[in-house]
Amino acid sequence: MSARVMLEAAGLEKRFGAVVAASAINVQITAGERVSLIGSNGAGKTTFVNMITGYLKPDSGRITLGGRDITPLDPRAITRLGVARSFQIPQLFGDLTALDNMLVANACHDQRLSFFQPARRREAIDRAELLLERFGLHEHRHRRVAELPGGVRKLLDIAMALTTAPQLLLLDEPTSGVSAEEKFPMMDTIMAALGQEKATTVLFVEHDMDIVAQHASRVIAFYAGRIIADDVPAKALATDDVRRYVTGELVNE
């Protein structure tokens, strides 16, 4: 694999009043990596994802995607460059059915929207249903998503992110809210779905260390806005800082 740097964050700083949400964040992600972002609550993981995707502007620092500076861009422009994300709290179109949610994702992905072409046309539906099926969402496709249980919504959220066939995918706590016995199959599903899109780079925020150990090729651990570890899972999870602040294996004194 060529060691092409796809995403680089250099010297990111972000404060909210007195709270430091990001401090001296330097990260380089190579294409094809599966990176897990871990950290205690409030460590700055979501903030990091938000800065990469343009939702938050860092106070200082620079983010480049494939060599191109994306720091000033808005979420839409960054999405159009092939970055997709899912959300800690699913962001769906509550009054629409699951299928329609997917159709919207499809439609938005098309470069040119049409005034004439029906949204619910056969080939679009087929494409959407394929993905829904892959995520086991097929039976829910005609239900209003506001009525769907939390875990299902989570999956749908991720399925929508995948519709845009991204080269970089950021998942914010994909398995939270998903029942225990489904967490692993679900990560398998996601990763399998990704496998088909060639070499999608994935960053995922995760609290379950077993999943991290199984699915990540690299772990970045956050604490109080700083990166406290950045290594392959086995090594990262073994550092004192991570054991103290993240997994709680070492007790805080």
Binding site: T46, Y55, F87, Q88, Q91, D172
Partner: protein
């Protein structure tokens, strides 16, 4: 120089009654999420009730100074009578509906109240002008102002601070904040949500009514008084930011001053002054001057 002082005084006195009325509007929106078109009708009700009460007070031979008390009582009576009727009897069936739908509900209420006030009080005008002379006149330079106008500024300040203090500095205020955020959470905490709605709505009506009651001495109370205040008070709360007390105060001052400047320097522009100010403010602050804190979404 004298011109400037006149502009200021005129702007502030105009702002005072406007603030009282707009305060009620913004409060009701803040708590119940209803932008109440019928607010103008409550204003009219206050004015009519004041006419009836002051007339009654005069017939009971109350001292002239007590007519102010009669006006206050009128506003209380309107709030005590109308709030339960409209809130319990009508609005609660529409809670949680779309904001715009609720605007229409209150529009329907406005239509109904127009005819109801006409049926109750008839079409003939009422005058309550006795209290207007209570405070004598105050001379400022070339101008002679009616003391009552300044008394209204005082009333606005008192009412405004009372409501502000109640919402920001008391436990009741915090409780209202919880209800504003989510009625389900509030109920889970043990808050009697309908009572808070009712209370906020009653206070809102009271503010509209007291605005009407204390304006009554300067106007002739007759059909149609409701229409004029609606749009101006809307403009005030939009400029200030919906649901914000500080916003209503600043909005009322801006509207009052803008209008005063227009009348004194370019009377032809009076008709649009308010809307132009509103458009300009929204241009730079899409949600008004005092925006509500937004919860984190992602």
């Amino acid at each position: 120089m004298a011109g400037l002082i006149t502009i200021l005084i005129d702007g502030i006195t105009y702002a005072s009654w406007l603030f009282i009325v707009a305060l009620g509007l913004t409060l009701v929106f803040g708590v119940l999420k209803i932008l109440n078109i019928a607010h103008g009708s409550f204003y009219a009700l206050g004015a009519y009730a004041a006419a009836s009460f002051v007339g009654w007070a005069a017939s009971m031979k109350w001292a002239p100074g007590l007519s102010l008390v009669a006006m206050l009582l009128a506003a209380v009576a309107v709030a005590a009578l109308v709030a339960p009727l409209t809130e319990r009897g009508l609005l609660r069936f529409f809670y949680g509906r779309d904001e715009v739908l609720l605007v229409l509900v209150t529009y329907a209420m406005f239509l109904i109240m127009e005819d109801v006030t006409k049926l109750v009080w008839g079409a003939n005008p009422y005058y309550v002008s006795e209290p207007y002379s209570l405070f004598g006149n105050v001379d400022v330079g070339k101008q002679s102002y009616v003391g009552y106008d300044f008394a209204l500024v005082g009333l606005a300040a008192v009412v405004g601070s009372a409501v502000w203090w109640g919402l920001n500095r008391t436990r009741i205020g915090k409780i209202v904040t919880v209800v504003i955020h989510s009625s389900e959470i509030a109920a889970s905490m043990g808050i009697n949500v309908s009572r808070v709605y009712m209370g906020a709505f009653a206070v809102g009506i009271f503010l509209a009514a007291i605005g009407g009651a204390f304006t009554a001495p300067m106007i002739s109370v007759q059909p149609g008084v409701s229409v004029g205040v609606i749009i101006v008070s809307f403009a005030v709360v939009i400029i200030g930011g919906l649901g914000s007390i500080e916003g209503a105060a600043v909005g009322a001052l801006i509207v009052g001053l803008a209008r005063s400047i227009a009348v004194h320097t370019a009377p032809v522009a009076e008709l649009f002054s308010i809307y132009i100010v509103m458009a300009i403010v929204l241009m730079f602050r899409p949600e008004g001057l005092f925006q509500r804190i937004q919860a984190r979404k992602i």
